[in-house]
């Protein structure tokens, strides 16, 4: 099924439609520029259905325009009474049967693809990641690997990664448009899906189910690196020393402030399963702060002083002791040094 869909797609490429679409959106975010097999399957179906729709629309518009041009009432014809036609069996049959055929053409690949994407048979041997949605951040637990991360998820390129997803609060939806379609993250059950990236890259992920005020700020990243780099990352992450001293007095001060100010109650460093807040083990390598902001020191300080301004309704606000600007700055210094792995988003090429 994939093969002929693929051929169909290249055919359309020529007709320019796909070209037009390919111009749409930002690389690594847009569903028009697929970087993984699931996104490709989706796009193929999108293009197939679009082609059918364009055909239908052209037919409808053709008749419509003819009607409007030919059958407008002309001057002096105000009293003309057209023939009162009751119907026409042949015509009516035609416009019943043709849509049936068109729908079938779409239905068959839809059903095949649906089962294809639901095929989780590789999960046993494959890499399994437990994905947890929280208001308003994501947590990733690499099952059987003793690795916990938040916000940024590393995966090896060209490998399906099996996700087991659940939420701790309300419904979220896990969506990385350029790699795969979305799947809801529910509080009452574990949903499974797999994702696979065909190229290295930092792929933008978004929460697609309304989950509260900061729903639009619940972004995350999927970082696809080569298999070797991934293995390296895994071993680095497994050997993190949560107590490691940062460099410089300010940062060391920050580290003790971090311990004293109950930050650790919510934020784990290392593979501790505590996940009331994002795991900060590799915070220094994060592509973003809290999912959406540039992780500059200034921003981190702003966050620590007033998280509410950055993410309305987040669950950190008001739940930690108030910090002075100085304290915040030392903590930021410390946090930015949390770079346990040689592998960083830079290795993914972006």
């Amino acid at each position: 099924m994939k093969a002929w869909l693929g051929k169909f797609k290249s055919l359309l490429m020529l007709s320019g439609i796909a070209l037009l679409l390919a111009g749409c959106g930002k690389e690594n975010l847009s569903a028009f520029i697929p970087k993984g097999p699931n996104a490709e399957t989706s796009l193929n179906l999108i293009i197939l259905s679009l082609a059918i729709m364009i055909f239908v629309f052209i037919v409808v518009m053709l008749v419509y325009v003819i009607v409007l041009v030919r059958f407008r009432q002309k001057k002096g014809q105000e009293d003309y009474i057209p023939k009162q036609v009751e119907g026409n069996k042949t015509l009516e049959t035609i416009w019943t049967v043709i849509p049936i055929i068109l729908v079938l053409i779409l239905a068959v690949p839809t059903v095949t693809a649906t089962f294809e994407l639901a095929d989780n048979s590789g999960a046993e041997e494959g890499l399994n990641v437990e994905v947890t949605g929280n208001q308003y951040w994501w947590h990733f637990n690499y099952q059987g690997q003793e690795i916990q991360t938040s916000q940024d998820m590393y995966i090896p390129v060209g490998e399906p990664v099996y996700l087991n997803m659940a939420s701790t609060d309300v419904i979220h939806s896990f969506w990385v448009p350029s790699i795969s379609g979305k799947m809801d993250v529910n509080p009452e059950n574990t949903n499974t899906m797999y994702i696979e990236a065909e190229e290295e890259g930092v792929y933008w992920g978004k929460c697609a189910e309304l989950c509260g005020p900061s729903h639009s700020l619940m972004d995350f990243k999927v970082i696809a690196v080569s298999q070797e780099e991934f293995d390296q990352w895994v071993s680095d992450m497994q050997n993190v020393d949560p107590e490691a001293q940062p460099e410089g007095a300010v940062a060391q001060e920050g580290q003790s402030l971090f311990q004293e100010n109950s930050c650790v109650a919510c934020h784990a460093i290392g593979s501790s399963p505590v996940a009331t807040g994002p795991n900060l083990t590799s915070f220094g390598d994060r592509t973003t702060l809290a999912g959406v902001e540039e992780p500059t020191k200034e921003n981190i300080v702003d966050w620590l002083l007033n998280p509410e301004a950055m993410k309305p309704g987040n669950k950190m606000t008001g739940n930690y002791p108030e910090l002075t600007e100085e304290e915040a700055s030392s903590i930021a210094e410390y946090l930015m040094q949390l770079q346990p792995s040689e592998i960083t988003p830079e290795d993914a090429g972006n």
Partner: protein, 617 residues
């Protein structure tokens, strides 16, 4: 707005008249006023949404307020604007089309209206009482259960009231159509608008109870500590989604079918041709309604129902394209060979065809499960449903308003203004929503308070917002047209458009008993038949005799006020038990009104034969 006689009686008397009326035409007008008011409100909310999304990372309104805005926009537009406007049109027109003097249950008709209206007011009270609901018009649990404040409580109680009103309205229309058709008006001679009213009412009857139950569960969870959606106590939030969509999908056909009915009246009239394939049109309507019950899970493709369920629902959903296609082509064939006159009513109907086709086709694209994994909860979906809802339902309502305005109010809407409003709205509409298809696939989920800079989403959103402002201006001009025409508009004759159906056989606006003598129907398009046979007038089916009419009553309003007060009690008793008093008082008022109704015989009154004869033609 109504006849000169009422205006002379002074404002107080007229107000009392409308508060107590059981006349289907006046209730219809009340629905139009109420629905129009909420449409304006929903439109205003839409403008605020589009201002917020004008530029990236805008902070015109806060995140919390944005969520309240979209929730109220969606809820208001669907439940308080589109549906009531349609119910209003049905109320005025359907009894006229079947040659009846009133509806089956005039008292309940009035009750239905007041429940809708006060339910809507209740919902909007939330703006002033600590914040509107903010969990989306779909109010998915557990977000809706956890939402702080009383916003969602207002959603629950407001929709419960107005939903009850709609259900009553549906049963009323059903019985009316079954028992009160004029002699000779067989089912297969009913105008399409009456048919769609009939089928829509069936949908209401079977779809709304699911919402009622869903709302009760949410109410119990929020206000009484039940655990339906509380995962910790074994609850299951997916139940809400099923109940909501078992109601919700038929709901969208509740909206579109009457609009289909409207177009099936307007296109033949202004093409001077009978509807092509009448029988097929009727059966397509029935088929759409039937299939409409079996597709709800297409809103839940990403919930994780598994591939079998997803595949079944995908195919069932696509099947709806077939009966809908039959309709589109039959409309085209109706115009083919006709003699088409274009005025504002017809313009809206003509604009509907391509617009709705696009919306319907994106619907079929959405039905393709794996593709929907990408579309779902993005602006692609927003684009889809505004194409079908605005391009189908709103265009339909506007077409119907221009078409039936003379019949309802006795004056013709201004043509020039009608056309300007149309073009602004039409162009604005496509600007607003066409780009949204692309925004969605480019990675913009819906219900996003802000979109970030540098993600390639800026231009699209800007264009979309500009389009929305054009729609706003178009809407404003339509409003001015209404005011202008009700003062200065051209007086309408009984049959200004050379109509085909029975409503054009009585005066504009019709006398309160509609027809002095019930008409005799001799075929489809009865008035047209008589015109073609040179009579131009409907043959009466009975000798002139006294007419039995129902009495007006203030009880429906009082009953509803009782429920209204009790709703506040339910909402606030979680804060303070003293509010239980409001429940008791409110319920006592409502039950007292019901008791009064059942203890006091109400046999209506008769208009004597002499009186009828005196009212000369």
């Amino acid at each position: 707005m109504s006849s000169a006689a009422t205006q002379k009686r002074g404002f107080g008397a007229m107000l009392w008249d409308y508060l107590t009326t059981v006349d289907h035409k006046k209730i219809g007008i009340l629905y139009l006023i109420g629905g129009g008011f909420f449409f304006l409100l929903g439109g205003l909310e839409a403008m605020i949404i589009r201002i917020q999304l004008l530029v990236p990372e805008n902070d015109f309104i806060s995140a919390g307020l944005y969520n309240e805005m979209i929730t109220m926009h969606g809820t208001t537009m669907i439940f308080l604007a589109a549906m009531p406007l349609l119910l209003g049109l049905m109320n005025v027109i359907m009894p006229l089309q079947i040659g009846a003097r009133d509806v089956a249950f005039p008292f309940l008709n009035s009750l239905g209206f007041w429940l809708f209206f006060l339910g809507g007011i209740l919902l909007n009270c939330s703006w002033f009482l600590g914040g509107a609901p903010d969990a989306g018009w779909t109010s998915y649990a557990p977000l809706s259960v956890q939402s702080p404040g009383h916003g969602v409580d207002f959603y629950v109680m407001g929709l419960q009231l107005s939903g009850a009103g709609t259900l009553i309205g549906g049963i009323n229309f059903l019985v009316t159509i079954v028992t009160m058709r004029a002699p000779g008006m067989t089912y297969m001679r009913m105008p399409l608008f009456t048919w769609t009213t009939f089928i829509t009412s069936i949908l209401i009857l079977f779809a709304f109870p699911a919402l009622t139950v869903g709302l009760f569960l949410l109410m119990f969870d929020r206000m009484m500590g039940a655990a339906f959606f509380d995962v910790a106590l074994g609850g299951n939030a997916i139940i809400w989604q099923h109940l909501f969509w078992i109601f919700g999908h038929p709901e969208v056909y509740i909206l579109i079918l009457p609009a289909f009915g409207v177009f099936s009246e307007i296109l033949p009239t202004f093409s001077k041709k009978r509807l092509f394939g009448y029988t097929a049109m009727v059966f397509a309507t029935i088929l759409i309604a039937f299939l409409g019950f079996m597709v709800w899970a297409h809103h839940m493709f990403t919930v994780g129902l598994g591939p079998v369920a997803n595949a079944i629902f995908a195919i069932a959903t696509m099947a709806i394209a077939i009966p809908t296609g039959i309709k589109i082509f039959n409309w085209l064939a109706t115009m083919w060979g006709g003699s088409i006159r274009i005025n504002s009513a017809m313009l809206w109907a003509l604009a509907f065809v391509p617009t709705f086709t696009i919306g319907g086709m994106t619907g079929v694209m959405l039905a393709s499960t794996v593709a929907d994994y990408q579309y779902h909860d993005t602006y692609f979906v927003v684009a889809h449903f505004h194409y079908v809802i605005v391009g189908g339902v709103v265009f339909g309502i506007l077409a119907a308003l221009h078409y039936w305005w003379p019949k309802i109010f006795g004056r013709i809407l201004n043509e020039a203004m009608g056309k300007i409003a149309f073009w602004l709205f039409f162009i604005g509409f496509h600007l607003t929503f066409f780009v949204q298809h692309f925004l969605g696939l480019m990675g913009m989920p819906r219900r996003y308070w802000v979109f970030l800079e540098g993600q390639g989403l800026d231009t699209g959103n800007l264009v979309s917002s500009i389009g929305a402002f054009l729609m706003g201006i178009g809407g404003l001009i339509f409003l001015i047209n209404i005011i202008y025409s009700s003062v200065k508009g051209e007086k309408a004759s009984a049959d200004p458009w050379d109509g085909r159906t029975l409503e054009w056989a009585t005066a504009s606006p019709p006398v309160h008993y509609n027809f002095k003598q019930l008409p005799l129907v001799r075929g489809l398009d009865p008035l047209w038949i008589e015109k073609m046979e040179g009579k131009g007038k409907i043959t009466p089916a009975e000798p002139l005799d006294e007419i039995h009419m129902p009495n007006g009553s203030i009880l429906p309003l009082i009953m509803t006020i009782g429920f209204f007060i009790a709703s506040f009690g339910f909402i606030y008793q979680t804060d303070h038990k003293a509010w239980l008093i409001a429940i008791y008082v409110g319920m006592a008022i409502a039950l007292g009104a019901m008791l009064t109704r059942s203890l006091k015989d109400d046999h209506g009154y008769h208009i004597s034969k002499e009186e009828l004869e005196r009212e000369a033609e």
